[in-house]
Symmetry: C2
């Protein structure tokens, strides 16, 4: 069939055409099927969206189609149904219970990267992977295929160390402290991080307060060659690009079946040989129990081993924020203070424990002690400044230089009591309402943490925001959702009465 | 945030807006989330598509948005993130293993009908229902909710009989014969049917050769009140509208977890009290084994019973086409001939067995005999003519009046032998390449069936098409994919050698 081109003048992420219902019926295609378009010997396969009220001789095309076949408004293209890609058959097989092998998974991942798979098909894969659970082999093949379909950092060095947290605890700026420690001791650590999706800040957001983090792979390589380390945003690199597309459908469903391939592929793609995975665990974290943490650790270590990486997992305390700050600027400042030995004890302990354990995997004894020394002697701070300079930031930045939101709201204790609990999710929600992570200066500073004694009138936390409307929204939310629980230990044994059934929401690990 | 409206000038099925990536980030929404748009006190919630290269102050809106808030090109609307609908939470709960109750399922189905659920979310539901399998209760609640969210046929009569085939065998024009039989005996049978999606003809396609089938519910009611029966296209009525939307995502995935709710809802919505379900069974059908047919029958009967319907299931022979004709016009002609007692024996037997069994469920004895009499005495033919007239067709239509494609191609036997197998899927594919069901005159006429002796040079089948290009395509396909197997029984015991693993494709039941 010959159809006249009308340009949509936007890019939808993959070659897409919109045709009228009647035209679709005449062509014998249905929504989510594919059309083969040809124009002057150039060809493209596009996904079909069926709409109504479109002239029947028109095909509306996205920018990707225009680019692929260099066609202009009003030109006539030849259009016919396209064959179903093999990857779709493999996804259907997987739905029906088949085990996927390397060949099938590679084909699927390649087609995900090349945008040949529709969202319906990708969602079916993600949902099925969640319900069926990926086997160790499948997780390994997905990891490998993700690495192979993306860019890779090639460093002529060994060992290459790396660190990753599955996240879920606000204020977890451990990487900002641990990466300079490792690099300052002469080990290579090409650290990539994500931005926040549901939290007040990701490591990339925090680091961006101190330096540019949107680097190319070549720029990242130069920074690592010069300083042994880096703190860059993984999203700007094309390593494991399939993962970004998978996250796009995982997110609205609040599921994360591709967590392990995603993390492992990103570590493998930068050439890591020794990796430590932080699994914050606790009621307010993504992983609730030690048992769950062990299960996850086992799978990550097995998949890592198949990929030729030595993976160690660290179960860490996740029932409250790390340090006192949550939000990009507040956290960057706290990390800097910690490297100046003026930071909170829990952050220093966590960062040096993680760095120390990682050092021990390459044969260093007394890793934690050595990590602590690197902080105390200022070596780690100097290294962070080197990294900041190499990435294009100001190495002379001081904690006082870091601007935080000028609008503030402080919550005070209404009684003399002890802090019994801190709700991570409510802390995160409040910080986000205040503007984090988009507004770098927005966030929360805690004044008390678990077990602290407070007196009536003592400040519990301060919210920072760059805008008065946002501080009001955060204040309103705080009033209705107190994130800090005060009381006398053991005095209130009833946790909750259940009058109507309600499922407990599990937090997916989308920021990875 | 305030954005300027640009109209997309098409209807995408649900309120949809397209915004730039940067605008989405500023609003804090991600693809598949929802935006709340307000304009002069009018409000609408729309699904977000994120694109690139769009001016940041623009929001591109589909016709549904324009209609909802009566907004014009260039006007400014207020835009903010919308809350996640409850139905989405229930779908997420279901993914995580929750059992759904009536309240949750009703909310989900209502939101499906009102287009509040994105395709990603609907796909997750469909995939999860496929992998988890709906329980009898869940299937019942979905059926009930589908009925309640659509139109219903209200007839002040009892009993109301109905018949449905799960399909999968080409040429199955049983309804065209069985419906007039039932109606001619004074019983009410308000039959709705689907059009073909993957087969050469659905009952609606076949019936449309003889009469209009796109009736409103009120028109259908008048036909039934006048003649006791009807043969209308269900897709034009708004009964169980959720099902059409579910099928849209089932189809590209080749899965059909909502088969039972779909069928049962459509029967219940027209008020049926006694239903017979035909389950064609055999290697070339959708249901392969008698055991599988029993499992499906059990579930349908249990769900039917909860809905207050007496459901009977008929397992029928499905290893070859019914009668000799496949394709709308060829089949309509064969059905007409059968009602004139000049049709194929298998079709007459199947139609009278089904009609007879249905009659017996309302207390008639010797149902099959009575059904056969209704055909032999011409009562069923007269009734079909009444129905044709009531629906606006020509009651005087004769088999010779029915036009079939003028382009033909005949396949001949290359040896003296016996017909050992007929491949339903290849028959269907050939007929579709010839133009069926879109071209009513296209299709296949078999000249031999299972067990028939043929001599070298005898015709095996003739393909009919309205276009020479299509007959060529069908001919080419036939040469490469012989749909009829000849040989000597017992002489060739090896069925297949497997050199490379390959999953067997199961046909989903989408036409229902």
């Amino acid at each position: 069939m010959r159809l006249k081109v009308k340009k949509l003048n936007f890019s939808s992420g993959k070659p897409t055409v919109i045709i009228d219902d009647e035209t679709a019926s005449n062509l014998g295609v249905r929504p989510h099927e594919r059309l083969f378009l040809s124009y002057k010997g150039r060809e493209v396969v596009a996904l079909v969206i069926v709409a109504w009220q479109i002239p029947r001789d028109l095909v509306l095309v996205s920018d990707e189609v225009v680019k692929s076949i260099s066609v202009d408004e009003g030109e006539v293209v030849e259009v016919k149904p396209a064959l179903t890609p093999k990857s779709i058959r493999y996804i259907r097989d997987y739905l029906r219970g088949a085990k996927l092998g390397y060949r099938e998974i590679k084909t699927i991942v390649k087609d995900i990267v090349e945008d040949k798979i529709s969202e319906v098909e990708l969602t079916a894969l993600v949902t099925a992977a969640y319900l069926r659970k990926l086997s160790i082999d499948e997780a390994y093949y997905f990891s490998l295929a993700m690495v192979e379909t993306g860019e890779r950092l090639e460093l002529d060095r060994k060992p290459i160390l790396d660190k990753h947290s599955i996240g879920g605890v606000p204020g977890d700026k451990t990487s900002l402290v641990a990466v300079p420690i490792i690099a300052s001791l002469g080990y290579t650590i090409p650290k990539t991080s994500s931005r926040a999706i549901t939290s007040p800040a990701g490591t990339a957001d925090r680091a961006e307060v101190l330096m540019p983090v949107t680097l190319t792979l070549e720029e990242m390589k130069q920074v690592v060659l010069k300083t042994n380390g880096c703190l860059v945003w993984g999203g700007a690199l094309s390593i494991a690009p399939a993962d970004d597309k998978i996250i796009r459908v995982e997110y609205p469903l609040s599921i994360d079946p591709f967590l392990i391939p995603s993390i492992m592929a990103k570590k493998k793609a930068v050439g890591s040989t020794h990796v430590i995975i932080d699994i914050p665990t606790g009621r307010g974290a993504k992983v609730k129990t030690i048992g769950e943490a062990h299960d996850l650790a086992k799978e990550m270590m097995e998949v890592g081993s198949k990929l030729g990486m030595k993976v160690t997992c660290a179960i860490t305390f996740g029932e409250q924020p790390i340090g006192y700050a949550a939000g990009p600027a507040l956290e960057a400042r706290e990390a800097l203070l910690t490297l100046m030995s003026r930071g909170p004890r829990d952050l220093l302990d966590k960062a040096t424990s993680i760095a120390g354990a990682l050092l021990e995997t390459v044969g260093i004894e007394n890793g934690k002690q050595i990590a602590l020394e690197a902080v105390r002697r200022g070596k780690a701070l100097s290294k962070l400044k080197e990294i900041i300079e190499a990435q294009g930031g100001d190495p002379d930045v001081t904690p006082d230089d870091i601007k935080v939101g000028e609008h503030t709201y402080t919550l005070y204790a209404e009684q003399d009591a002890i802090v019994l609990w801190i709700n991570n999710k409510l802390i995160a929600n409040t910080a986000r309402l205040a503007g984090a992570p988009k507004d770098k200066g927005a966030g929360i500073l805690l004044h008390a943490k678990l077990g602290d004694k407070v007196k009536k009138g003592d400040p519990l936390l301060t919210v920072y925001s760059e805008y008065s409307t946002k501080i009001q929204a955060a204040e309103k939310f705080l009033e209705e959702n107190p994130p800090i629980g005060l009381g006398v230990p053991g005095a209130e044994m009833l946790i909750e009465l259940i009058h109507a059934p309600k499922l407990h929401e599990r937090l997916p690990i989308i920021e990875r």
